[in-house]
């Protein structure tokens, strides 16, 4: 069963976002996304200091099967990356909302959060994808 925690926000491109306080957010890919990709074998992370706008390409995740881009869900500066994923990309499969996080940003425009999806809305979009 795919998990979609209710306390997170989601992008249609399958990233999740957790608010850590003080305008800092953590970003990763959803359980649905990791399950669709299968065994993850490679991640490309952004660099600390990168200035990203919402929907900018921030990196990529590749499974045996396919490559998928990771997008910044909101605008801001990258302040941390999860370097451990470079050696243990499978962590994304094991713990997509925990140790499998991708990067942290300091938001430049918190009002952009309003455009993201709730867990319930995200589940609806994934159900539509499965039917499509």
């Amino acid at each position: 069963m795919v998990e979609t925690p209710a306390d997170l926000k989601y992008a249609e491109t399958h990233e999740w976002l957790r608010q850590d306080g003080d305008g800092v957010i953590t970003i990763g890919i959803t359980d649905y996304a990791q399950e669709s990709l299968g065994d993850v074998v490679y991640v490309e992370l952004p660099e600390v200091g990168d200035q990203l706008s919402a929907q900018d390409e921030a990196g990529a995740v590749e499974s045996v099967k396919a490559a998928s881009d990771i997008y910044a869900p909101v605008s801001g500066e990258v302040i941390a990356i999860n370097e451990e994923l470079e050696d243990e990309p499978g962590t994304i499969n094991e713990s997509p909302y925990g140790d499998g996080w991708f990067f942290k940003m300091r938001m430049s425009d918190p009002s952009e959060l309003a455009s993201l999806l709730s867990a319930e809305q995200y589940i609806t979009t994934t159900e539509e994808e499965d039917e499509g």
């Binding site: 299968g38 074998v41 590749e62 045996v64």
Partner: protein, 379 residues
């Protein structure tokens, strides 16, 4: 509505991730594609390949028909050798499909790809013309591939328990590319993984029982995802990637599958591939290794040189990746690429670059084929 094989409910019970594969609802994996890959290399795995199209060619004209239809020569089938790989070419010398041919009672059995099924059957029907031959799709049959170093022993155990001592003894004696039909079960010592093993064609109604009997003795279910990484590590071509109707087989390292002798055998495409051979072949398939982080994928551009000179703008594009993936056995990415030797000089150096998402990464060129019988074969 997707088509389902006779093993569909078995896949469901095993919690397979099912995907649309050429119009069939097939298992991509049963949890971990990488674990399934290792099972086949180290012990034994089984694949449902019932989506493949089985076609029986029977009648007094069957041999003459296949002499005309196929680029390889069915006369090579005899005695111990009962299975043969061949291409089916069009008049322009492009590849309509690649297939396996087996000898059966009163004729031959062909196994062609699932994605090309409709055009293959139409083509085979159209070529039948004046030959005294019947071309019949065997959609009443299922096909399982049991592959890996323990495959023969595991299948023997199942056959002894549930079928007959005779079947068990017979399959143990099959040489590579040998095949035998025993009471409607067609066993062939063939496969698509680079490991020893069997492909078994059997009545669809008996396939699920056989599947669970194999499962019971520890044969791991493996999905089409692992099948692809296994064939890539073995350096085996995949239709639609390394070969297609627009590509000469001579540029896909498949000249060895064309039976040029006897010279008076007229087969479809013979004139075109003969002309291509006389003109000279400038492209070939090579193996590509990328030990840096990242994954090779089909359609990425390949460049020669570049590594030695930091000015990558000067290195020349020499080809494209036709198949690429992560190699579970090697722990890094491998691929096949078609390169143009005339662009690269008469031969390519062993170092080059690939472009991935706008960035150049170092690669090494090797012979196509990375792992066989559980052993790494890179030179």
């Amino acid at each position: 509505m997707l088509l389902r094989t006779s093993l569909y409910s078995a896949h469901q019970k095993l919690a397979a991730k099912l995907v649309d594969f050429g119009g069939w609802e097939m298992p991509l994996h049963y949890g971990s594609q990488i674990a399934e890959h290792h099972s086949v290399r180290r012990q034994c795995g089984m694949f449902d390949v019932s989506h493949m199209t089985i076609v029986d060619v029977l009648g007094s004209g069957a041999r003459a028909y296949l002499h005309y239809l196929l680029a390889n020569d069915v006369d090579k089938l005899s005695g111990d050798r009962q299975a043969l790989y061949s291409l089916m070419l069009n008049e322009a010398g492009g590849v309509i499909d690649d297939l396996m041919i087996y000898m059966i009672d009163k004729g031959f059995r062909l196994v062609v790809n699932c994605a090309t099924r409709v055009k293959d059957l139409a083509w085979m029907e159209a070529q039948a013309g004046s030959f005294d031959v019947t071309v019949t799709e065997r959609d009443d049959m299922a096909m399982l591939a049991i592959q890996g170093p323990e495959a023969i022993a595991k299948v023997q155990t199942v056959l002894r328990r549930h079928r007959s001592e005779h079947d068990s003894l017979m399959i143990a004696q099959l040489p590579r590319f040998g095949a035998v039909v025993l009471d409607q079960w067609h066993y062939a010592r063939t496969g698509y993984t680079g490991e020893d093993g069997l492909e078994v064609m059997l009545p669809a109604s008996q396939a699920e029982a056989f599947w669970w009997q194999l499962h019971e003795v520890g044969v791991a279910p493996a999905g089409l995802g692992a099948r692809d990484t296994l064939r890539l590590e073995a350096g085996l071509n995949l239709y639609g990637h390394e070969m297609d109707e627009q590509t000469s087989p001579l540029e896909a390292n498949l000249a060895w599958t064309i039976a040029w002798q006897p010279e008076d055998r007229n087969f479809v495409g013979r004139a075109a591939v003969t002309k291509a051979r006389e003109r000279g072949v400038h492209k070939k398939l090579v193996g590509v290794l990328m030990t840096e982080r990242g994954v090779l994928r089909a359609q990425q551009s390949i460049y020669c040189g570049g590594i030695e000179s930091p000015d990558t703008e000067t290195s020349t594009e020499i080809g494209i990746v036709t198949s690429g993936s992560f190699s579970p056995t090697l722990g890094y990415s491998v691929g096949l690429a078609r390169v143009d030797l005339s662009e690269a000089g008469s031969s390519i150096s062993d170092a080059g670059e690939v472009e991935i998402r706008g960035k150049r990464k170092a690669v090494r060129f090797v012979a196509a084929g990375f792992v066989r019988n559980g052993q790494i074969t890179i030179d």
